[in-house]
């Protein structure tokens, strides 16, 4: 079925409306000819399936890091009309508000190098990670409800960070309209001991340095400079968000049947946006999104503490402040211009990042002129990127861009490839210290298992839906 795809330009492929019966709009996949070769048929099918859902507005899109997900592809962007359209948990993903935050510091690489081993050891001890690990916090139901309503603010009020952090988080680290009463007891139980934990799989905490600046002016505005130490944290809403998704897939599956929506795949279960089922999901999803923002806030605080204790530095000298925090698995009502008219839409971003342009009212004052910082983590051996949102993204992709490198190799294949190799030593030879709780985690997550993030980022940069500011190289990685 690849032969049905049509190249629109250097950076975009079209999945035409006749690719598959039932499509209400076309699909657009952002890939250049090199990444097109890594495209899986399964993800093209999924782009087409999403195009068949009721009330979709514009094209069903996928970013260059696209790969096959559950229902919606990972790397997917889809907008739905509030009157005619649907909301789907599959368009958000199991890990609700999985996302990334980036911290800057006053440190330069040379200063940190001699202390790296100690620092990684302390972070590994202080940041709970991995299978069966327990967090430092134990939340009762009343506490958890506060987390769900307040998001990152809850953490700051508990002493984990500063109020100033909040304005540098997408949506201020809290979505309004979360309803804790719509969350199951199972989700509360899973969430009770997992607030302030990193998790496992592709989640990580990484110490990095700025190795290339592409846009000097923007880097200055973001307070970034060459050889500077940064920290990137990638995690989400943990078991709490997964339980919310699992619970609502059942609700939505029944709702789809009730409202007569035909589903090509049960993981696409959805309900009309206006229905009670959809509104309940949205309010529970917001609660999970807030749980995730509180989680990244706690982890950032402990990271700062670890740096201060290992380096015997005060907060002022260390200067470890938040650059930004983005969600890359989320649904939100946003205003966009469609056919020249301002319209509210329910945006689904699953493995894709919001990339709002300069001047957008949702951006904090500090970044209003600059545009929204976009944080793109890569694999643990290569690089990560800081980009900015653009007006073109607003026009073409409802203000969205890619979210990461995108997996290329299955876990099994990666483990086979890694057999007889010591991945940690290969990384150590490149100056990257890695610590992980799981023996197989490093093999599964080895750099070759992913597309080269630079190729992915070049596509979104060349397509103009975000622009490169800086490249970050890993020095130390904590994984589950």
């Amino acid at each position: 079925m690849f032969e049905k795809l049509r190249r629109i330009d250097e950076n975009r492929l079209e999945v035409p409306r006749d690719y598959k019966p039932g499509m209400k709009t076309r699909g657009i996949i952002y890939v250049d000819s090199a990444l097109e070769r890594a495209l899986e048929l399964g993800s093209v099918e999924q782009v087409a399936n999403v195009a068949s859902l009721p009330g979709i507005v514009g094209a069903s899109m996928a970013m260059p890091d696209v790969h096959t997900g559950y229902g919606f592809p990972i790397g997917g962007v889809a907008a739905f009309d509030l009157q005619e359209g649907v909301i789907s948990p599959g368009g958000v993903g199991y890990d609700i508000n999985c996302g990334v935050r980036l911290l800057r510091s006053n440190l330069v690489r040379e200063r940190l190098l001699p202390r790296m081993k100690d620092l990684v050891d302390v972070l590994f001890r202080e940041i709970p990670a991995g299978v069966g690990s327990k967090g430092k916090l134990r939340l009762g139901k009343a506490d958890e409800e506060k987390v769900l309503l307040k998001g990152a603010r809850w953490a700051v009020e508990r002493g984990f960070g500063e109020m100033a952090d909040l304005e540098r988080i997408e949506s201020g680290g809290c979505l309004e309209g979360a309803d804790p009463s719509l969350v199951s007891n199972k989700a509360y139980e899973r969430g009770g001991a997992q607030q302030g934990t990193l998790g496992s799989g592709n989640h990580f905490l990484e110490i990095q340095y700025v190795d290339t600046i592409y846009d000097e002016e923007a880097a200055r505005a973001l307070n970034l400079f060459k050889d500077q130490i940064t920290v990137m944290i990638h995690t989400g809403s943990r078991g709490f968000g997964h339980q919310v998704c699992t619970d609502f897939l059942e609700v939505m599956s029944r709702a789809a049947a009730k409202y007569g929506i035909e589903l090509p795949d049960r993981e696409l279960a959805c309900a009309p946006f206006k229905s009670a089922e959809a509104q309940d999901y949205l309010a529970a999803m917001k609660a999970a999104a807030n749980y995730a923002w509180a989680n990244r806030q706690c982890l950032m605080h402990w990271t700062r503490e670890a740096f201060m204790s290992v380096l015997s530095m005060g907060p002022h000298e260390l200067g470890m402040t938040l650059i930004y925090d983005v969600a890359h698995n989320i649904a939100k009502v946003e205003e966009h211009t469609v056919n020249g008219r301002k319209t509210k839409l329910i945006m689904h971003r699953k493995g894709s990042t919001r990339a709002f342009p300069p001047g957008h009212p949702e951006l904090p004052d500090a970044y209003r002129k600059l545009g929204q910082p976009v944080l793109i983590p890569g694999d643990m051996g290569r690089a990560s990127f800081v980009l900015l949102g653009t007006e073109k993204a607003m026009q073409e992709t409802f203000g969205s861009t890619c979210h990461g490198a995108g997996r290329m190799m299955s876990r099994h294949h990666a483990i086979r490839q890694a057999k007889g190799r010591a991945i940690w030593r290969e990384l150590a030879d490149k100056g990257i210290i890695v610590k992980s709780t799981g023996r197989e985690t490093l093999a599964e997550e080895m750099p070759e298992a992913y597309k080269d993030v630079s190729d992915v980022v070049n596509v979104v940069h060349n397509a103009g839906i975000s622009t490169k500011v800086a490249r970050l190289r890993p020095m130390g990685v904590i994984k589950g």
């Binding site: 069966g132 139980e189 009770g192 078991g239 876990r411």
Partner: protein, 137 residues
Amino acid sequence: MQFETIDISGDAGIRARGSTVPEAFANAGIGMYSLITDISWVNESTSIVFEANGDSLEGLLVSYLNELVFRFDTHGFIGRKIEIGDISGLSMSVTVYGEEFDPGRHEQRLLIKAATYHNIKVKQIDGMWEVEVVFDI
């Protein structure tokens, strides 16, 4: 054991067999536990019992496995042996023998976060039941 792993990009799946649906389901559960840890180190010192329900055999499989995920994620319960009673009206009784997961003693493999409907299969082949399920990790 009557199960094997399925190779899938980014995540992990299990294909399990049994002469009856309950047996195939039980083997799928053991397969899932084997993705989390090496179950030969798990003791059968305690047990849990619960009732699972679904709207179809596939729905029943997903809901039962998600209950195991939930018990692991909240109470650290890891199983080694699973007994499933007869399925009547798309509900079944499940007994799992195991113990509390101890990272000091048990290998930390994959953190399974949900059983999904992605490419799910429950089918009868040559008199044997075969199921396939993919997990979000």
